[in-house]
Symmetry: C2
Subunit: 199 residues, 2 copies
């Protein structure tokens, strides 16, 4: 436990913001989670909005860049997609509330994402070229690669975002049964997506 006070605040804020969002989070709750006084949060980050933006920007770029990196890697279409599924399911499993957090906050205030992408120097147009060309690999399939990526992301994220509902309706609210379902998800989605891109 040799973390600095600033790190403790940041990590507590990250946990609470990701769970409850900007609107649902109270500075007092972050202070409690960090085990210190509310005034210290303002001493280190000046405002709730500042603290939130620090959390959002880190969280967003981490998740976003992983999609990017995997899709520009070398290899066949199948290799790229299976590698992506492998990595991304693990990432979501370790951070199950992050995708929904990102989606919510972007809908609440799209400007935060846009300034973040600007600061990172990301060129939107490049993303499409990366998807269609790839470094020396064949095309992603005859389908519009954007439909493939959107379908894939939806299939991977929805079981986590919709967990309380799905667990209740399809698994009689049994958490263990739902964990089992989630652990099958990687192979199931791999098979589905490979069938989808077959000619």
């Amino acid at each position: 436990m040799d973390k600095t006070t600033e790190e403790k605040i940041y990590e507590a804020a990250r946990r609470i913001f990701i769970l409850k969002g900007m609107d649902g989070t109270r500075m007092q709750e972050i202070a409690d989670e960090a085990g210190m006084n509310k005034a210290l949060l303002h001493y280190y980050f000046r405002s709730k909005e500042n603290l939130f933006k620090a959390v959002f920007k880190d969280t967003f770029s981490k998740f976003f860049n992983k999609v990017r990196e995997t899709l520009i890697s070398d290899g066949t279409t199948s290799d790229k997609l299976t590698a992506f599924i492998e990595y991304y399911v693990d990432l979501i499993q370790a951070n199950p509330y992050v995708p929904q957090f990102i989606i919510n906050e972007i809908n609440r205030d799209p400007q935060v994402m846009k300034s973040q992408m600007f600061e990172s120097g990301i060129e939107p147009q490049n993303i499409i070229e990366l998807l269609t060309k790839g470094k020396g690999s064949e095309k992603l399939s005859k389908m519009d690669p954007r439909h493939i990526v959107v379908s894939l992301l939806g299939m991977l994220i929805f079981p986590f975002a919709g967990r309380p509902l799905l667990q209740m309706v399809y698994f009689n609210d049994d958490p263990e049964a739902y964990n089992q379902f989630l652990s099958e998800r990687k192979e199931v989605v791999k098979n589905m997506i490979l069938k989808m891109i077959e000619e």
Copy 2:
């Protein structure tokens, strides 16, 4: 415009709550949207939570029952799924923020969903049987039907929930291009899901 005051309040509340959620909504904003004084909201609904629950329960059961109805209909697997996609895309297109609203609020307070399902007399266990058996139709496919339904819902909902991000990254922030993408979605998902369940 012969709506009652209560109806005007309810419809204004529905618009705002669905856009901004329980935490992000102010009673003043609902009053402005309804074109009347804030005190009237409390006169008719007593509290913000009451008003919210009225909106949530209606919205939830409408969307939920549509999944249910379509999946218990007669017909082959393909018929069921294509009918479902047809209907659900239109439903989301007319209410693009509703799925995300439902998911968010259920995560925020799962109890609201549970009491709602209890009041509606929905038996969770029945849902699974409906999926696997269906009224006189063959089985949904050799795959676990829950994986199919979860994938399908993810593929349909994600393009709407993630719109600001996806439109920015893959469509250079061009709304018209994204609308075009959404209008292709119905056929694309039909083709994908039918390939997925092929033997």
